[in-house]
């Protein structure tokens, strides 16, 4: 039966939700919108959630279920909550001045970001596929609207509709997959699926319903994490959405979708890898190559980062290919998945903070050529952006390098040498296109029609914190890696293997 004490476990989610309502009431009901107060209250909500999350993390030693098994209370969920809260805070801070500049005065922006974060956090701890679906929709519906928040701009509206059609289509597949898994084993609990597989003689091969269900689930998740061949929408949507929203999508949405996918693959389907190992292998390889090759030819930095985000999804899938059939404890390097999601969030938010400076008369202009001469005009910003880009490329001593190292190690230890080679090729291509903006910043002259960078303290603060974090955790990753590994290993508590 329901125990009200369990509400503690969704304390962070409740905090974010209640603060979202508060901001909504303040901004809309009283029509005395003060952007600074609204921002302050929103950030306070995120901070409250972070504190509650930290308390939960310390209070819960052994992973446990809550709400009759709908929710998994484990380190994996806690770690993801932190990533989501960071991404939301970054997006909010970048948006503060940006929205004013592009002349978008929408009081719903901050509450929407909080609602989306609420969905993301639930997604990371969902042990029931139905809860997973509902939280995914809470997240997605908010993000569709955020994409189109710049109502006057055609590109923004178009990106929103495109994302909506693809997202809703993918949800349909995901849901059908859930229905078949439910039909196959009689439960939608992820842990129940794992326990069902653990029974001798049960497997994908003997149960067509499960096979179809898993395949449909993979298609649905493929769309959501932008894995090839379901990645086509990503560049268009990322380019059309306003920069702070793109930053949020690239980091928060990707992290949440990946966390849900990891939970399904590493808990429910661990040990069943053989059946769909080839499919996962091909998806990972395709994603790495499509993302990195696509990024090569882009002239727009935002679009390039969109393609590169596909490539990064590929590296994460690469590590999942190396998941051991015998149990997670066999390959602790898989903790790199969580570490990399965090690292990717930090460095991407940093890069997008710089991108948000490039507006001209209320319109975004993020062509790489605009970066010319940045090193002379604003050496600190140029240096910070360079560090973030080098981290994305995986150059030591950055957080991106450490994360990538663990992903490759996880794949190789799991015996997936082939995919690691593909990953290395992708990484080599990556170094080339990440260096290009840096070369432009340091070697090329300013464009003739230069515009002043719209620098503002909030976004500069995000950039500064991101850059420092990238360097610090790149040099001394030790304790953070340990936390990430422990968090991932907490998934092993659910498995039937």
């Amino acid at each position: 039966m329901f125990d009200p004490g369990e509400l503690n476990f969704i304390g962070p989610e409740i905090a974010v939700f209640v603060f979202a309502l508060l901001v909504l009431v303040h901004d809309v009901m009283f029509k005395q919108r003060n952007a600074t107060i609204s921002m302050g209250v929103s950030l306070m909500g995120l901070a409250t959630a972070a504190v509650l999350n930290l308390l939960n993390m310390q209070a819960v030693d052994v992973p446990r279920e809550a709400f009759a098994g709908a929710m998994a209370v484990d380190g994996f969920g806690f770690f993801l909550n932190f990533i989501v809260l960071l991404a939301a805070a970054g997006a909010l801070l970048i948006s503060h001045d940006f929205l004013r500049r592009i002349d978008v005065d929408v009081p719903e922006f901050n509450p929407l970001v909080l609602f989306v974060a609420f969905g993301m956090m639930l997604m990371g701890s969902a042990n029931d596929l139905i809860l997973l679906f509902i939280s995914l929709e809470v997240m997605s519906l908010g993000v569709y609207v955020l994409c189109g928040i710049n109502r006057g701009e055609l590109a923004s509206a178009e990106a929103a509709l495109k994302y909506f059609v693809m997202g809703a289509f993918a949800s349909g597949f995901l849901l059908m997959g859930i229905a078949f898994v439910y039909g196959g084993i009689g439960s939608t609990r992820i842990s129940a699926v794992a326990q069902w597989f653990a029974i001798e003689g049960n497997g994908i091969a003997g149960n067509p319903l499960i096979g179809v269900g898993v395949a449909l689930l993979l298609v649905g998740f493929g769309f959501k994490v932008a894995a090839a061949p379901f990645h086509m929408w990503t560049p268009d949507v990322y380019q059309g959405a306003p920069t702070p929203v793109t930053a949020f999508m690239a980091t928060g949405v990707k992290a949440a979708a990946f966390a849900a996918l990891s939970r399904v693959l590493l808990v429910a389907l661990l040990g069943q890898n053989l059946e769909f190992h080839t499919a996962l292998w091909l998806i990972a390889a395709g994603t790495i190559l499509m993302g990195n090759i696509g990024a090569l030819v882009q002239d727009d930095l935002k679009r390039m980062l969109a393609y590169s985000s596909i490539g990064h999804a590929g590296y994460l899938l690469m590590a999942l290919v190396g998941a051991p059939a015998a149990g997670l404890a066999d390959n602790p390097r898989l903790g790199g998945i969580l570490f990399y999601l965090l690292a990717y969030t930090v460095m991407t938010v940093g890069a997008f903070a710089v991108l948000s400076f490039f507006t001209r008369d209320g319109v975004e202009d993020t062509r790489i050529s605009r970066l010319g001469g940045l090193a002379d005009r604003h050496p600190a910003v140029a240096l910070a952006l360079s560090i973030c880009l080098l981290s994305l490329a995986g150059v030591p001593p950055t957080m991106g390098f450490v994360g990538k190292f663990y992903l490759f190690a996880a794949a190789i230890e799991g015996g997936a040498i082939g995919i690691a080679v593909v990953g290395a090729i992708g990484g080599a291509i990556g170094i080339y296109y990440y260096l290009r903006p840096i070369v432009v910043m340091y070697m090329h002259p300013e464009p003739a029609d230069r515009v002043e960078l719209a620098m503002n303290p909030a976004a500069l603060g995000v950039l500064g914190v991101a850059t420092v974090a990238v360097l610090v955790f790149g040099l001394v990753p030790g304790s953070l890696i340990e936390v990430a590994q422990d968090s991932l290993l907490s998934l092993a508590a659910w498995g039937g293997v």
Binding site: F133, I134, A160, L161, G183, P235, D236
Partner: protein, 102 residues
């Protein structure tokens, strides 16, 4: 009615879902695409209810209710976005939304 087994239900559900998928992939009118997505979700609902009957559980029926609520929210957001684009383009043809491409 009681003797209807699982497979006819699944067959109908798959048919609905397939029709929806075909609609999304081939139609160019956004409104019809939205309807096709609803058709997909209805196919899923039928599958949930069919499985729940087959398994003798209540869970599946409850899931169908959740799916309906989500579908309604999705339709609301989708139609709002279509209206927004319609104001820009005076068209609901997906092919005309081609600003972002490359």
């Amino acid at each position: 009615m009681d003797q209807v087994g699982l497979y006819p239900v699944l067959f109908t559900s798959a048919l609905l879902f397939g029709l929806g998928v075909t609609g999304v992939l081939t139609r160019r009118n956004v409104l019809i695409v939205l309807m096709s997505i609803e058709l997909m979700l209805n196919g899923v609902n039928l599958a949930f209810v069919g499985f729940a009957r087959h398994l003798g559980q209540v869970d599946g029926h409850a899931f169908a209710i959740f799916v309906m609520a989500v579908a309604a929210a999705e339709a609301a957001v989708g139609l709002a976005l279509v209206l927004l684009l319609f104001r820009h383009k005076t068209s609901v043809d997906l092919e005309t939304f081609d600003l972002l491409r490359g």
